[in-house]
């Protein structure tokens, strides 16, 4: 009996922190996603010469909560001819995979749910790819043509672009020689250079492939609202729909985090090894203070007293966060917390920039057609990423031959990147020639891919 209690205590000791962390993430992630959506809508409004949500709370700050509430209390509709079990399972599968893949990520050296997975990156990429089952099954279970076509498109798209993304990841992993997420970031810290500098072509390939993987514009064909109504989500409504939505945005966070970890130095400050740039440690604090100050400036503009108070509260929150960020830099006793707190800030900052780029792209350019999307994947991105892996490998061998490290590696990787670029241009030229030889008006048979 006491052995069992002992074992339980051991278990709790070993797992309580990850469990707690997991629960917290599952609990607050919908909120975070809600606010990402709000940011997206605000950005879209800004680019489209309008205001965006302004009604619920000051500047629409409470809009995500109102939206979530509305989705929760909506009537739950399952079509008569749908496969009930699969219809129920599909969104859960999607969101489950997305949330699970978050577990492997490290937000700063201090925050990671599943500690020390030595296949870290592989785990994250593998699990997040499982989410496609949710989409395919959801599209199939709806028993509707639009849904089915959306699901087919989605699976074809994921298969095509996962290859390119994987190859891009391999290029970066060649530098580290490990899949462990913490080791990857530490390797970048040791080299004093981020892999985006050493493997820019791989970063570009991953950027494009990750947009396609998360079904974002201009590759949002599975849910292209002007063609397929809502693609695989057509028959879903209310809470089930919001689960898909949650999965989509979580996937965005996941791919952005993977790119940040692998290419953008994870939680490292820019130039973390250059002492005379240490004043950059104040940037996070200044940023938060600036946001808070802006909120205070806007307070008199709010029409209602409650909204003014809300705005003050937001400003206060910003100041508190700014203070928390400032303490480890200023107070010597708090020095041990520096890596954790500032690491978290920089990681989230980089992820935000990556997601911002996604949004920016969405509002700027039109959507690809399906055959064009497939051609871009198979004829351009995959060859390019394979060539790039070879080139990066050769560059690394050359680097070790000349015993180059850190910024010195640029001497060998830059020529490799240039050669890859030339290869890219050659592929594009060959594509163009092929196009001209082909009869106009006949798209290639993309299902044969």
């Amino acid at each position: 009996m006491s052995a069992a209690i002992q074992a339980t205590i051991e278990f709790v000791k070993l797992y309580w922190a990850p469990l707690l962390c997991g629960v917290v993430i599952v609990a607050i992630l919908p909120l975070i996603v809600g606010y990402i959506v709000l940011v997206e809508r605000k950005l879209m409004a800004d680019m489209q010469a309008r205001l965006g949500p302004m009604r619920v709370g000051p500047h629409g700050l409470l809009q995500p909560i109102a939206d979530a509430l509305k989705l929760l209390i909506k009537e739950d509709i399952i079509p008569d001819n749908a496969d009930k079990l699969v219809f129920w399972l599909a969104p859960v599968l999607s969101v489950g995979a997305a949330l699970l893949s978050l577990a492997g990520l490290a937000i700063g050296p201090a925050f990671q749910i599943a500690q020390d997975i030595n296949i870290g990156i592989l785990f994250v990429v593998g699990i997040s790819a499982l989410g496609i089952f949710g989409i395919v099954l959801g599209g199939w279970a709806s028993n509707s043509h639009y849904s089915l076509m959306g699901a087919l498109r989605s699976s074809a798209q994921l298969v095509s672009y996962e290859t390119a993304a994987g190859m891009a990841l391999v290029s970066a992993l060649l530098f580290t020689g490990t899949l462990n997420i913490k080791s990857i970031v530490e390797a970048q810290s040791k080299e004093g250079i981020w892999y985006v500098m050493l493997a820019p072509v791989a970063f570009f390939t991953y950027l494009v492939a990750s947009i396609a993987e998360t079904n974002r514009a201009p590759f949002d064909l599975p849910e292209a609202e002007s063609e397929l109504v809502a693609g695989y989500m057509t028959e879903f409504s209310g809470f089930r729909w919001s689960l898909y939505f949650l999965a989509e945005y979580t996937n965005m966070i996941v791919v952005a985090s993977v790119a940040t970890t692998l290419f953008l130095g994870g939680w490292l400050r820019p130039f973390s090894h250059v002492p005379w740039l240490n004043f950059l440690d104040f940037v996070p604090t200044l940023l938060m203070v600036a946001v808070g100050a802006y909120c205070i400036v806007r307070v008199p503009k709010q029409p209602v007293r409650v909204q003014q108070m809300f705005m003050m509260a937001v400003a206060g929150l910003c100041f508190v966060v700014g203070l928390v960020l400032a303490v480890p830099v200023l107070v010597p006793i708090a020095k041990p917390f520096y890596a954790g707190i500032h690491g978290g800030f920089w990681f989230i900052f980089k992820v935000s920039l990556y997601i911002y780029f996604f949004m920016w792209l969405r509002f700027t350019i039109p959507r690809y057609r399906f055959d064009q999307l497939m051609r871009l994947g198979w004829h351009f991105l995959i060859p390019l990423s394979i060539i790039n892996v070879l080139l990066v490998g050769v560059a690394l061998i050359a680097g070790s031959y000349f015993n180059l490290h850190g910024w010195g590696l640029l001497l060998v990787t830059t020529p490799a990147a240039v050669i890859a670029l030339v290869a890219a241009l050659l592929i594009l030229a060959a594509e163009k020639e092929h196009d001209e030889r082909q009869q106009p008006n006949t798209a290639s048979d993309f299902y044969a891919g």
């Binding site: 489209q48 010469a49 064909l221 609202e225 002007s226 509002f363 700027t364 039109p366 959507r367 064009q372």
Partner: protein
């Protein structure tokens, strides 16, 4: 469900990009369209039959409800047709103001087309830029006649309202701003690789086909046929102004896009020329309170934003027309849809619906 047969899907009547209540039955092989059928009539209101039970003046507001995004143009066609039947002519001042308003309406209609067409192809932002400018035009309409959409701006024999005080200034300011705004849309689209990929070579309509289908308007001109009623049989005050008729070469979606963009520029030039010199004088010709055209028939067509809108009116000498037949450009342009869509993919279907620029109110009447 997953047999190797063709898949028949129903696009519409409730579909985000069929521009109203158009229902398209698509026969698909994978994603390729091997056949299509347009099913229309969801918005049929019997406009032509109503005409037989209304006096000539009473019927005028009804034509605004056909092409409700270009009501001014429809109204101009009807008023001029009845004037032809009555053998009266609107005074010069009325004709010039009619020209200005109609050209503004052409710009507004093309802006709506551009925004929704780009939205169908996945470019979200141009829509809002287009609506920003369209709003300015609608404000001018509102100041002129109190309505924004179904304006009923003209009367048989001339105009009901004198141009308001700052009319010229408003139109001029709009035209001045609009020049740089077109550049804005073009920056987003014209040279965009994806936009070109989505529109070039899509929905080709040869000149011979276009003529055989009776297609008119920008769709015809993009196929390389230089036919514009404003030049061929000038009405209103078009014979006084200099403007070009843009034509395309291949007749694909991209050409139709370029033609409409150029048409907006030309309309702007016409407006600028027209406000320079609006002749003074009466705005209404001498027509009685009760219109009783002599027995006979008349066909009058004008160049609406979407093509030739024609009115065939038969009078039996009473206060009501014996028969009114309307030749709606959207309806006839839509007939070329099947020819344009065959062999293309589902994504191209929405691009082609957008590029024909239909309004279901006019297709169904």
């Amino acid at each position: 469900m997953l047999g190797a047969d063709e898949l028949v899907i129903n696009m519409g009547p409730q579909h985000p990009s069929t521009h109203g209540v158009l229902r398209v039955k698509l026969k698909l092989d994978g994603e390729r369209v091997i056949g299509s059928e347009c099913i229309i009539g969801y918005l049929h209101r019997g406009v032509e039959k109503i005409a037989e039970n209304r006096t000539y003046q009473q019927f005028a507001p009804y034509v605004d409800r056909m092409d409700y995004v270009a009501a001014v143009s429809s109204g101009l066609g009807y008023c001029e047709a009845v004037e032809k039947l009555l053998v009266v002519e609107a005074p010069p001042r009325a004709r010039v103001i009619r020209t200005i308003l109609t050209e503004l309406q052409r710009i507004a209609s093309h802006l709506l087309w551009l925004g929704t067409h780009a939205l169908d192809i996945g470019a979200l932002t141009p829509l809002f830029y287009c609506f920003r400018e369209r709003e300015e035009i609608l404000k001018i309409f509102e100041k002129y006649c109190g309505a924004r959409l179904t304006t009923h701006a003209f009367r048989i024999g001339g105009l009901q309202y004198e141009a308001y005080d700052t009319f010229e200034k408003d139109v001029e300011r709009f035209c001045k701003d609009f020049e740089s705004r077109i550049v804005e849309y073009e920056t987003l689209l014209t040279q965009n690789r994806i936009w070109i990929g989505r529109t070039k070579g899509v929905g080709i309509l040869t000149a011979a086909d276009a003529i055989a289908f009776g297609v008119t308007g920008p769709v015809l001109r993009a196929s390389g046929v230089k036919w514009d009623i404003r030049k061929a049989a000038p009405y209103a005050a078009y014979d006084q102004y200099k403007f070009e008729i843009p034509v395309g070469t291949t007749g694909d979606t991209y050409d139709r896009y370029l033609v409409r963009m150029e048409e907006m520029r030309q309309s702007r030039l016409i407006c600028l020329q027209a406000i320079e010199n609006i002749p003074a004088g009466p705005i209404m010709a001498k027509v009685g309170k009760v219109l009783k055209p002599p027995p006979g028939e008349v066909y009058h067509a004008i160049e609406a934003p979407k093509g030739e809108i024609g009115y065939y009116i038969v009078s039996d000498g009473t206060v009501m027309p014996y028969r009114v037949h309307i030749r709606p450009p959207s309806f006839i342009n839509l007939q070329a849809f099947d020819r344009m869509v065959r062999g293309h993919l589902v994504a191209d279907v929405v691009a082609i619906i957008g590029t024909i620029d239909i309004v279901l109110g006019e297709v169904d009447r």
